[in-house]
Amino acid sequence: MSSLQFDIAHLFAGSLVLASFMMLYQDRLYALLNVYALHAGVLALSVAWQAYVQQAPHLYVTALIALVFKAIIIPVALHRIIKRLGIHREIENVIGVGLTMMAGIGLVALSMVVMLRVTPGADALAREDLAFALSVVLLGLLIMVTRRNAVSQVVGFMSLENGLVLAATGAKGMPLVVEISVAFSVLIAFIVIGIFLFRIRERFDSVDVQALDRFRGERR
């Protein structure tokens, strides 16, 4: 692989981590969704590049799913849901932006240390891809735990899932990548849009998870 090819792959994977960071400090739902669309778009580019470099045409399918489904359909649908539910207000963070960013930096450092240390044998591209992918996964987890709003938790989960797709495409020749990305898309489409938001709306007139927390299973 030429060094240019490597650099471009590196650029895309790095941009994905950057986009994850951008999600960390968004305080409006619409803005968060826009950044998520960007995140998915970068993923699509990255996957398409991997498909080209590895000469694996089936990965183009994964790239297409990322572009059409994750970067366009899901954000648009969530936009409409937010509008219909009238919840386009600020997102409540559990902890402040500064602390969240610091934690994010720590997580990225952690994933670099872990992944680069355990994969000296693997080829450079796969190594770095894995390290970036783990960063994106951990940042996705961070988004999920620092947000109270159901929609932003879902966005966090979807960004986490993007990290997994990055890892799966980085592992050269991995079978079932397309199937797995389809399975994930089904998971997201099924639950998130179809059922939960509508049911939560139906019952609570809110998609704030804190509203759910009132209903502990064990009150007398």
Binding site: R117, E179, L187
Partner: protein, 479 residues
């Protein structure tokens, strides 16, 4: 291609799921659900007679044979219980026929997903199956659409998704470790190929992979501190689903974990997963045992008891060796049978009394003797009193540990005793206290419950030699 028994185990639930989604009339579909589950169970029994060939996608060995038979058996008995359970739910209007159609289709989908996870010879396919099982149970947990059910389903969805996401990352890492040795493509994910070559895999990568897999599938097993979804999901979903969750789905996740443990065992340089599993198991046992004391909801209480028992099982498999593995396997079987029997009883109790709150249920043995004594027998079994099967398996776990790491038994026995105290403390008034709540006779089907309890009792007194040799083979396989 002829359809062999392995394919049939998948096809029967898949086809019946489609059928049940279309057919109207809950009485018919409930019966059909039972028939489909029975057919799957009988097919799984045929695996002992005619050995189908394993391929690149499907695999059959001694280990998953045990799991498959247990899964299809409890799946069948639960479908019988479910038929009488939903009859009551329709009458009280908690579920509508449209929801029931969905419920039955999902039930068969769940059976399909669990069977697929058990016989998949491909770690990617196994992951997809576990994801599918999670998805179907999330939908079923939320089926009552009450506040609590929605909260439980949401929590389960979020935590379950994070769990399976971590498991996928671990799976990818395993592939990365395998690629330099077995080459690119499908071989890098085929279970039988992986085990054969695992000795040459990069140990550092395998270690990291196992940590992710343990956290990921461990969430689904319900190990503390990743258990938060489990009590809610058990308490708020329909009771047949609680029975299947406790009795089967936790086992399926454990099975995935055991598979990867076997792979690591082949590689002599990689970490031994044992100590990690022993630690998480012990934490789960003691934590869940302490949590039993403050339960107010009867289904939640037994959910915590499930965490405790999964802890014991993971502990036993973590200790490893033929005897501990045998004990773990036996305990897993006994726990599945007993816990689902308990949920069968609890489901009818909650229907008769119209509540799940322990404080509002009392004097069951006086008002509904069959139900009350059935539940009491189940509780006696689950806390591990002789002569029932769980006593024997717990005794085996403790005695095999005592020979190798005596100080660990202190914690284990402590946890078991604390749990015994907690369960008896809570269940006492429910059984023998002043009769409270409605005292209508239960329109229950006692057959599934007493079948399970009968099997557990029999196992406590006499284990058939066939079963013993079978389990011994599996225990050897697990290393």
């Amino acid at each position: 291609m002829t359809v062999d028994a392995l394919a049939a185990i998948l096809l029967i639930p898949a086809i019946s799921a489609a059928l049940l989604a279309i057919l109207p009339g809950y009485k018919l579909t409930a019966k059909l659900n039972v028939v489909a589950a029975l057919a799957t169970f009988l097919t799984s029994l045929s695996l002992f007679v005619i050995e189908p060939t394993s391929g690149q996608y499907l695999l059959l060995d001694d280990l998953n044979k045990v799991f498959i038979v247990l899964t299809t058996f409890v799946g069948f008995t639960t479908s019988v219980f479910s038929a009488s359970y939903i009859h009551h739910e329709i009458e009280t209007g908690r579920l509508t026929p449209a929801f029931l159609r969905f419920y039955h289709a999902m039930y068969q989908m769940l059976m399909f997903a669990m069977n697929l996870a058990l016989i998949a010879n491909n770690i990617g396919l196994m992951w997809v199956a576990v994801e599918m099982a999670t998805l179907t149970t999330v939908l079923m947990v939320g089926i009552y659409r009450t506040h609590e059910a929605l909260e439980a389903a949401w929590k389960y969805f979020i935590l379950g998704s994070v769990g399976i996401a971590l498991a996928l990352f671990g799976t990818i890492l395993v592939y990365m470790a395998a690629r330099p040795v077995v080459g690119e493509g499908m071989d890098g994910m085929v279970w039988t190929v992986l085990v054969k070559h695992a000795a040459q895999f990069d140990p550092a990568l395998l270690n990291v992979a196992f940590v992710f897999l343990l956290l990921g599938y461990g969430t689904k097993v319900g190990l503390a501190p990743l258990h938060a979804w489990l009590p809610d999901a058990h308490a708020e979903g329909p009771t047949p689903i609680s029975a299947v969750l406790s009795g089967l789905l936790l086992n399926v996740a454990l099975y995935a974990l055991l598979r990867f443990k076997m792979m690591l065992a082949v590689n002599s340089v990689a970490i031994t997963p044992g100590p990690l599993m022993v630690t998480m198991g012990l934490i789960s046992v003691i934590f869940a045992a302490l949590m039993l004391y403050r339960r107010r909801d009867i289904k939640r209480m037994f959910a915590y008891s499930s965490i405790e028992h999964m802890g014991i099982i993971v502990f036993a498999f973590g200790m490893g060796g033929p005897l501990a593995n045998f004990a773990g396997l036996l305990h897993m079987t006994m726990h599945s049978l007993t816990k689902s029997a308990i949920f069968f009883a609890v489901g009818h109790v909650a229907q008769v009394k119209g509540t799940q709150k322990i404080a509002e249920i009392g004097g069951l043995t006086a008002t509904n003797p069959a139900l009350g004594w059935g539940l009491m027998l189940g509780v006696i079994a689950i806390v591990g009193l002789p002569p029932l099967g769980i006593f024997m398996s717990e005794f085996l776990v403790v005695s095999s540990t005592f020979a190798r790491a005596p100080w660990l038994t202190v914690f284990l026995v402590l946890g078991i005793i604390i749990a015994l105290g907690g369960l008896f403390l809570r269940i006492g008034p429910v059984m023998f206290g002043e009769p409270k709540g409605k005292t209508a006779p239960a329109a229950a089907s006692y057959v599934p419950m007493f079948t399970h309890l009968g099997l557990v009792l029999m196992a406590g007194i006499y284990l058939p030699p066939v079963l013993v040799t079978g389990f011994q083979n599996v225990a050897k396989l697990l290393g």
